[in-house]
């Protein structure tokens, strides 16, 4: 920024403070393809053995990694799709349409956005048990969607707010209905927001652990988060190289999406408030 300060002491300090994360990340990658003699920190042989889990038949009581991955994919995609579709309409209504109780609805969305949803998990657990959605992927998808929705609506409303009124007014003058204006003129304007929100909810569902763990602990509806955690919990003598391979496999889509869409997602994190 400004040139009359020396920056290297700061770089050094920041570098030192970042060491834990750097060490963790470096070893996350290195340990998946190497073996290390016990008691040493420097890997000494190259091996692909830790990736066996991708091809071997699963041990008794464990699920197949590919069916678990498919579950995770279905979970994340469905959640993302429902959140995007619902936010797309409600965001527009809140941003642009004159309707009764508009203030109340806006306040409600904002309150829910701040509201810590994880406190509701006990009654949601009981509700799913009563309705028979317990232990099914569908139940988890619905719940995760609901929890992501307030953020989605709020973000979408923000994107709609930036669309110039003139576009809509022009459309209306030419005789189009409000609905047509939304579909033909406004929707194309919020494409970037739509993509960002879709990615964001996809990642949120992909990383989710507590909900699948509590609401669908069964093997058949397991997702990668619960699969990995079960591995870690079961093992008497932890094989961290294997955990890291599974973990890297699990986190790969997240990292790739971040590398590519970094800027887009930051928009939502900036406005997002959870955490």
């Amino acid at each position: 920024m400004s040139s009359n300060f020396r920056s290297w002491p700061m770089t050094l300090l920041l570098g030192f403070l970042s060491l834990p994360i750097i060490v963790m990340m470096v070893y996350l990658f290195v340990d998946t393809v190497t073996d290390t003699t016990a008691g040493s920190l420097i890997p000494d042989r190259f091996t692909l053995e830790h990736w066996r889990f991708l091809f071997d038949a699963p041990q008794a009581g464990r699920s197949n990694i590919w069916s678990v991955t498919l579950n995770t994919f279905i979970f994340a995609c469905s959640t993302s799709a429902i959140v995007v579709m619902t936010s797309l309409t409600s965001g527009y209504a809140l941003s642009r349409l004159n309707m009764p109780y508009r203030r109340l609805l806006l306040g409600g969305v904002l309150t829910l956005h701040a509201f810590p949803t994880v406190t509701l998990i006990i009654s949601i657990f009981l509700m799913l048990q009563m309705t028979g959605l317990y232990n099914s992927l569908l139940g988890v998808i619905l719940v995760k969607t609901a929890l992501e929705l307030p953020l989605g609506i709020w973000v979408m409303k923000g994107f709609y707010d930036t669309v110039p009124w003139e576009i809509e007014m022009a459309g209306l003058t030419d005789g189009a209905s409000r609905f047509t204006v939304w579909r033909r003129l406004v929707l194309p304007q919020v494409h970037p927001g739509l993509a960002a929100l879709g990615l964001f909810s996809f990642l949120a569902a992909w990383s989710e652990y507590i909900l699948p763990q509590v609401l669908a602990p069964d093997g058949a509806s397991q997702v990668l988060a619960t699969y990995l955690q079960n591995l870690i919990k079961d093992d008497r003598a932890p094989d961290f190289n294997m955990f890291k391979s599974v973990g890297l496999f699990y986190a790969m889509p997240v990292m790739i999406i971040y590398l590519i869409f970094n800027q887009k997602l930051m928009n939502i994190y900036g406005g997002g408030t959870k955490g």
């Binding site: 920041l14 834990p20 994360i21 509201f115 609901a146 870690i232 961290f240």
Partner: protein, 434 residues
């Protein structure tokens, strides 16, 4: 109603349905459940009526006459049509008819009494074993028998011949019921249990510590990267965003690898003669440091993003001007950067207070409240009570009561934030009235 109204409400409908089902209903139900004794023992749908050894013991505790409860626990032999039918099928009509003629309606306290009477009959089976079998057919016991309804249960009790007063009956029905019931006991438990107070204390400690770390370190990262050359700043921001974007399970697993006794820290320090140990769980202090850092790294990165974007709004000319005037770096931070960050800091603080108060996933994944229960915060305590309990029954009712405390705090805080962050300015009227 105008058409725009209809379109607006139509557009809102899917969201309203979801919000109703998964926010309003759970909030109300949390309150409802908190007044029940639901647990994995009672089940969540209705229950049945059953007298077992334990019921008998608690009956005596509740003032039920001991003589009567003992009688309920004994086997009784009543000569009735049901038993007679079974005898006819197994031992022939002659024997059954003779029993009917001689003993119909009689009641025996033990099998031996009944056997003695049966031995007197002429058409009895010859072998003693058959005689015992025949006697068993008349056994009527309520002990360990499930009755699906209250009337069936009382009929069953009536058959044993125990005379019940109205009071006795009420106590008996209540004690024998295996399902859940309405109660305020959960709230009494919450205020009286030592573990709740410990959880409350842990929570306050945890929120205070983590929040200071989040805001303080977030500020530090934002300001330092603000002064660094662009490339370096981008690298550090990318590094510090990692804790936030990595899935919690993987992130915490890496911390375990770092701190466990076969992990990085132990091996690294063994070079300096330090005994390998589990740095995460071997003492209370270490556990606290770990969970504050684990959560803090995640929270600090969010702070960093928010603060950095606020700093980017400062016009460069302002900074240049201050330098021309001879401001040192500290003065620049104090008088230009920090004032710019006022609102983001307030915002981060308030939102993170709420989310730290209620979220437990990182603690659950890392220490799970240990060692002992020294890092068990309120939200995790609630979770353990209701949903994840190694040593026994899951107490849904008590858990709901504990969760309701957080729900109430959550609603109150969210409403407060609405006022704090000037909600009214966010609600601008639509410009097209159609």
């Amino acid at each position: 109603m105008r058409r725009a109204h209809l379109l607006g409400l139509g557009f809102m409908t899917p969201a309203l349905i979801i919000v109703f089902l998964f926010f309003l209903a759970p909030v109300v139900l949390t309150a409802v459940f908190s007044f029940t004794s639901m647990s994995s023992g009672t089940g969540i749908s209705g229950g049945a009526y059953e007298i077992n050894e334990q019921t008998l013991r608690s009956l005596t505790d509740r003032g039920f006459p001991k003589a009567k409860s003992e009688k309920l626990g004994h086997d009784l032999y009543r000569i009735g049509e049901e038993g007679l039918g079974a005898v006819e099928a197994d031992f022939g009509k002659a024997f059954a008819d003779e029993i009917r003629a001689e003993l119909s309606g009689e009641l025996f306290e033990g099998r031996r009494d009944l056997e003695r009477e049966l031995k007197k009959l002429r058409s009895r089976p010859r072998s003693i074993r058959d005689l015992k079998k025949a006697a068993d057919l008349f056994k009527r016991s309520v002990l360990n028998t499930r009755f699906e309804s209250e009337t069936a249960f009382l009929d069953g009790v009536g058959e044993t011949g125990v005379e019940l007063t109205a009071d006795d009956q009420a106590v008996l029905v209540k004690t024998a019921y295996t399902g859940w019931s309405w109660t305020t006991a959960n709230y009494e438990l919450i205020t009286s249990m030592a573990s709740t107070w410990r959880a409350a204390k842990n929570t306050a400690f945890y929120v205070l510590l983590t929040l200071s770390f989040n805001v303080g370190f977030g500020l530090f990262l934002a300001i330092t990267t603000f002064y660094l050359p662009k490339g370096q700043a981008a690298i550090f921001r990318a590094i510090w965003i990692l804790p936030r974007i990595l899935p919690p399970v993987l992130y915490v697993m890496m911390w375990k690898w770092l701190t466990w006794d076969t992990g990085f820290l132990s091996i690294f320090l063994s070079n300096f003669g330090v005994e390998p140990r589990n740095w995460m769980l071997n003492s209370d202090i270490n556990a606290w440091v770990c969970i504050v850092l684990i959560n803090g790294f995640v929270g600090a990165s969010l702070g960093m993003i928010l603060f950095s974007s606020a700093l980017r709004a400062i016009p460069p000319s302002m900074l240049a001007a201050s330098e021309v005037d001879g401001a040192n770096r500290w003065q620049q931070i104090r008088h230009i950067l920090l004032p710019q960050l006022q609102w983001p800091i307030l915002f981060t603080t308030s939102y993170q207070t709420l989310s730290l108060l209620t979220s437990f996933d990182y603690i659950y994944l890392s220490t799970d409240g240990g060692p002992g229960r020294s890092t068990e915060v309120w939200a995790l305590y609630t979770f353990h009570t209701a949903l994840n309990n190694y040593g026994g029954v899951l107490q849904y009712g008590l858990g709901a009561a504990l969760a309701l405390v957080l729900v109430v705090i959550g609603i109150a805080a969210s409403l407060f934030y609405l006022r704090l962050f000037k909600f009214n300015e966010l609600v601008s009227q639509p410009r097209i009235e159609q």
